[in-house]
């Protein structure tokens, strides 16, 4: 490359400012620990705020409409097809042993315990964690959050708590709907592809479910809802660097909340299976 006056940013080898590897690692660890700390603080505050007024119920209702009702179409559509595809995949295996009536059991358990909560959680994370992050991020960079503070409003009460509460309430509902529609989808698929009797499928699917399965599914969806709302809010309220930062925060919100949901799912499954034996 030709030498031009613009090339003055070349890293100078061996310059005294070059930080050592250890320093870089320590710095990175420090910033990450700080982020986790800030995130925990925000999550805790979002719930603690609900104990005292002001509570902004109007905003919570608006968010429930946006997050709950707004997510309904994608949850319905994906729920139906996931139920159907589960039947197609497992039915073929059961058919080999002439046990195709067992399909209903498997699909019901899989949907209620696992696929319902996690798929709904991931879908709503994709839709709402990103929405929350970009909305709060844009408000932050245009100083609207500061304007709120300047007028005596606590942004964690006005912006964070309503979103967290709305998600905590709506995600279990969405999950329930998704599971139901999934079972309908499974029933349709089993009637058409496995030639099973619709009532038989439905009866088996319901009969196999235990209280602990339902509890497992619902408690997962509550945790997933909390994760996606708090991660969305945290990313939005910690935007650095203008519009580009908002874009980054939006992506980050989806990535981080999705990964956390999947990781949390593993641990919750383990815990739920433990309690299923002991308690229920």
């Amino acid at each position: 490359m030709a030498e031009t006056p613009l090339q003055d940013t070349q890293p100078q080898a061996g310059s005294p400012e070059t930080p050592s590897v250890v320093e870089v690692l320590v710095d990175a660890a420090k910033t990450n620990i700080q982020k986790v700390q800030e995130y925990s603080k925000l999550s805790f505050r979002s719930l603690a705020n609900l104990a005292t007024s002001p509570r902004y119920m109007q905003d919570t209702l608006a968010q429930m409409d946006d997050i709950g009702v707004g997510s309904l179409p994608i949850v319905l559509l994906s729920g139906f097809f996931i139920g159907a595809v589960m039947v197609l995949q497992t039915g073929a295996q059961f058919e080999r042993f002439g046990q195709s009536s067992l399909t209903g059991d498997v699909v019901a358990i899989a949907l209620v315990r696992e696929l319902g909560p996690s798929i709904t959680g991931l879908l709503v994370a994709g839709r709402c964690a990103s929405g929350i992050a970009s909305e709060l991020g844009s408000m932050l960079v245009t100083e609207q959050v500061d304007a709120m503070r300047a007028m005596g409003t606590d942004p964690s009460r006005k912006l964070v708590s309503p979103r967290v509460l709305a998600t905590l309430i709506t995600l279990p509902l969405l999950t329930t709907i998704s599971v139901f529609v999934g079972l309908v989808g499974g029933m349709v698929a089993s009637v058409f592809s496995l030639r099973l009797d619709a009532t038989a499928f439905w009866e088996r699917a319901i009969a196999v479910l235990q209280f602990s399965d339902v509890m497992q599914g619902l408690s997962k969806s509550v945790v997933f809802g909390f994760i996606l709302a708090t991660v969305g809010c945290y990313q939005g309220l910690n935007v650095r660097g203008g519009t580009q930062g908002v874009g980054r925060a939006t992506t980050q919100a989806v990535v981080v909340s999705s990964v956390l949901i999947i990781v949390a799912d593993t641990f919750l499954t383990k815990i739920a299976l433990f309690f299923a034996d002991k308690v229920f």
């Binding site: 002001p54 245009t142 609207q144 500061d146 304007a147 300047a150 007028m151 005596g152 409003t153």
Partner: protein, 279 residues
């Protein structure tokens, strides 16, 4: 000039009743220290005009005064409370007594103009029946009564600035911080906004801290007053100043108060740096 005590130099007795008091406030970022020991105080009903080049820290000073930012060191007292040490929760209560006009307006862009202005009244749990007339009144005051149903994005920059002023003063706060209210506006609109600030000062008697890059703004505030009887803005006649309001200038330079004094003192100052501002 710098050394000679200004006409309004603070006696200790006076500073006790100051509405806003900065003592040796410092704040810095990664790039270095921006405010390096800023001290000043504002008396009740006084308008302090904070002059400075771009990047001199005017916005920072205002945000520190409103408790939106915490200084690295030094103390800030507003209405007798130590803002620089209060928790965010206590600050929220104090901020209800102050209006803040942001440099970029910072209007809630998904709310209508009327909702923006009403926001603070809702927060203060003002009666619903009372909100509507008060919003209309303050919007009439800034001559934007017809825009109540519009969104901020449907307004011009100057109109947005006026809505922002309306929003800041709707609950009649005793203190208003104006951050560069005329920046980037044409001279006529700037004049409209300065007139508005004048009226607020002379009708409601607010104490104001006004950041600006334009010296004219300060002189307009110093030399004119709003006559409530005739409802007109008039030039002050020399012998007796009709407005009790006092306008003082503060010039920020290199993170310190470079000059503090009355408009006359600023005009008389024989300082090359200040001369550059006068052009």
């Amino acid at each position: 000039m710098m050394e000679s005590p200004s006409r309004f130099a603070l006696t200790p007795e006076k500073s006790r009743e100051a509405v806003i008091q900065f003592s040796d406030v410092r704040i810095g970022f990664a790039e270095g220290e921006i405010l390096r020991g800023v001290s000043f105080s504002a008396q009740p009903k006084e308008t302090l005009v904070l002059l400075g080049e771009t990047g001199s820290g005017k916005t920072l000073t205002l945000k520190i005064a409103a408790g939106l930012l915490r200084p690295d060191s030094g103390t800030v007292d507003v209405l007798g409370e130590r803002v620089s040490q209060m928790s965010e929760r206590e600050l929220l209560a104090l901020r209800r007594k102050a209006g803040f006009v942001f440099q970029e307006g910072a209007l809630f862009d998904s709310l209508t103009v009327g909702e923006n202005v009403a926001y603070r009244l809702h927060e203060d749990h003002v009666n619903e029946e009372e909100i509507e007339p008060r919003v209309r009144e303050v919007l009439e005051f800034v001559e934007l009564g017809h825009t109540q149903k519009l969104l901020p994005s449907e307004l011009s920059g100057g109109m947005r600035r006026r809505v922002s002023i309306a929003r800041a003063v709707v609950n009649r706060p005793p203190i208003v911080f104006y951050d560069s209210p005329t920046a980037g506006l044409d001279p006529i609109t700037s004049q409209t906004i300065i007139t508005l600030i004048l009226r607020l000062r002379d009708v409601y008697g607010v104490t104001a801290l006004l950041a600006t890059q334009r010296l004219q703004d300060g002189f307009a505030l110093a030399n004119f007053h709003f006559d409530s009887a005739t409802r007109r803005v008039r030039r002050d006649t020399k012998p007796e100043k009709p407005s009790a309001a006092v306008t003082r200038f503060l010039v920020l330079r290199d993170g310190r108060i470079y000059f503090e004094g009355s408009p006359e003192e600023l005009l008389a100052a024989n300082d090359p740096y200040l001369q550059r501002f006068l052009i």
